[in-house]
Amino acid sequence: MTEMAQTTAATRTAETVASRLSRRYAAERRFRALGLGSILLSVGFLALLLGSIIDKGWTGFLQTQIAIEIAFDPQVIDPDGSRDPVTLDTADYAALVRNGLVARLAPEADRATRRDLSALVSTMAANQLRHMVTNDPSLIGTRATLWLLASDKLDMVVKGQVPRQLGADGNSLNDRQLGWLGELEQAGQTRKTFNATFFISGDSRAPEQAGIWGAVVGSFFSLAITLLVSFPLGVATAVYLEEFAPSNRWTNLIEVNINNLAAVPSVVFGLLGLAVFLNVFHMPRSAPLVGGLVLALICLPTIIIAGRAALKAVPPSIRQAAAGLGASPLQIVAHHVLPLAMPGMLTGTILGMARALGETAPLLMIGMVAFIVDIPKSPLDPSAVLPVQIYLWAGSTERAFVEKTSAAIIVLLLFLVSMNMVAIVLRKKFERRW
């Protein structure tokens, strides 16, 4: 009897299961689709981010120039014919540029027209002429066709970053200027070349003259300080906690402390830097030295945690083998454990440095937001760093700074990618299976 009952129960099970199967599989597919959708969406956001940055930024590596025949008019440069260096240096080269433009585009120009004409060319063009003349005064009285740096407004239109239509969003050229642009383009008097200015200059109020070199140098100084401070301290702490520290309340406190510091918002570290380094120790504001110190404190927990993980991965058998040969605890660590753990520690350090390179908020606190044109010469000079430069440009109203910001972001991301690559290669190369 039990057997019959059991068989019917089993039959019932099989039938019920079968009848609900398609519904359950539909739920399974929905759930799966939800998971895949989430991943695709996340990757899609990344693609949108990178896509929009690259789209807006790649033209930042190019600059527009226009060819204008310039007459080095002695009447304008050196009316007395004295060739005095001071006279040559202070002459009105902008007038030469303006005259060249007038001659080429609007010989009958009135005052307003001349102003519109001047707005086609960057103020850098006058500097270019000054440089040429002071280097070689014999140019005075000659004529030459020169490629001059275009103004940011023209640059944006030529690169297609703003629409060419009159009055379109972001396009501040008037109909006359657009007409001249067309004329120059027809005559082959415009070109786009590699934008070296962007890589060798410091910041500038004029977008077409602004560059990232000052910020790159500032970032380099800051990171150098960060590395010098945080790497030895981080490795020493990791070694002490992992290899020597007795497990008592004090070391426990240190550990809890490190874990919590890792999660303290970076802006709070900025407050610490402001209150301690600037107000108590009177260190210079806006200097990479202070920035580097603050970043070092931010990085320290990351490096310690990575360092401890690397030390943990070294098998105890190696320590025992060394101890068996009579090595002192310090010798065991210095000769055997540390070399084996070093790749892991370096990987963690590089990742920490990469994070420090992108850190912005704490640096705002210690005054690294000043407008600084000069390239810093030492960690004590006021300076910007790359992410802060990005922040500053992002807040500028000129349309052309959107392009510069995006281009600077591309450079920053390239730095980060290469640092991460180094970390990955390091990890791959020294990955060890015990």
Binding site: T2, E3, M4, Q6, T7, A9, A10, T11, R12, T13, A14, T16, V17, A18, R20, L21, R24
Partner: protein
């Protein structure tokens, strides 16, 4: 599909023919031919790594979860190939339940543990029926008296032996046809083991049971038939009494007399 044929006791419920199993490069089973009869307890014995667990996990396709596992040859349940495309693995596992080596109750209440299978398979029409299924299953698993006052407590709060009986109750709540047991007592103390063995004997009336065990005494106590595996091959299968008193193969002889294992 002849899934629910009414099989008389002793007829073949599961049948393996030339069954090979590979894990990536390594072959784990070599041409196993084995019939498992309905309404009996079949014990699979042999030294560790002999393939007995692998064979067990083929029967409800738990090997599907292992990357790189390949099964070839034929393995049928009531005449239908388990690895046939028309067999749905969810449906198969509802028919072939499993109890694992280590008790693995879900971190849910005792009630929810037992009700889990009926719930996902929709076996109960209403709450009352679900209660009924849970109570019956716990009773059949001999656990009801110990837990009836604390059905809402976590399944993980029970002792090891109770946890394993809870897992058995969880398996029988689905009303499967076959129950696979993978060394169900290896993590239990002798008293808990005795209880579970007693339970297995009672369950034989309603289910076809296949049990992997490393203890020959246990095989002798609970099973009607015993199959001896060695190095991925089935060496000998027969009535338990015959295997333990009069093994035909020298390897079997050696194993049960304790010369290796």
């Amino acid at each position: 599909m002849n899934m629910n044929a009414v099989l008389p006791q002793g007829s073949s419920k599961i049948s393996a023919k030339a069954l090979d199993v590979h894990y990536s490069e390594k072959q784990a089973l070599f041409g196993v031919d084995l019939d498992i009869r309905a309404g009996e307890v079949t014990a699979l014995i042999g030294p560790s790594g002999c393939g007995k667990s692998t064979f067990l996990r083929c029967i409800n396709r738990m090997n599907d979860l292992v990357d790189g596992a390949r099964v070839s040859g034929s393995l049928t349940l009531d005449g239908t190939d388990i690895y046939d495309r028309i067999i749905d693995v969810v449906q198969l596992r509802a028919r072939v339940g499993m109890v694992f080596q280590k008790p693995n109750p879900f971190p849910k209440s005792i009630y929810d543990n037992v009700a889990y299978g009926p719930r996902i398979h929709g076996l109960a029409q209403d709450q009352a029926e679900l209660d009924e299924i849970v109570m019956t299953s716990l009773e059949k698993a001999g656990l009801l008296n110990e837990v009836k006052d604390r059905l809402q407590e976590s399944g993980t709060s029970l002792s090891g032996g109770q946890q394993q009986r809870l897992c058995i109750a969880r398996a029988i709540a689905v009303e499967p046809e076959v129950i696979l047991m993978d060394e169900p007592c290896s993590a239990l103390d002798p008293i808990a083991t005795a209880k579970v063995e007693e339970l297995i004997d009672e369950l034989r009336e309603n289910f076809t049971i296949v049990i992997v065990t490393h203890s020959m005494q246990q095989a002798a106590r609970v099973s009607q038939r015993t199959a001896f595996f060695h190095l991925g091959k089935l060496i000998e299968v027969g009535d338990t009494e015959q295997i333990f008193t009069n093994p035909q193969q020298p390897l079997t002889q050696g194993y049960i007399t304790g010369r290796f294992g």
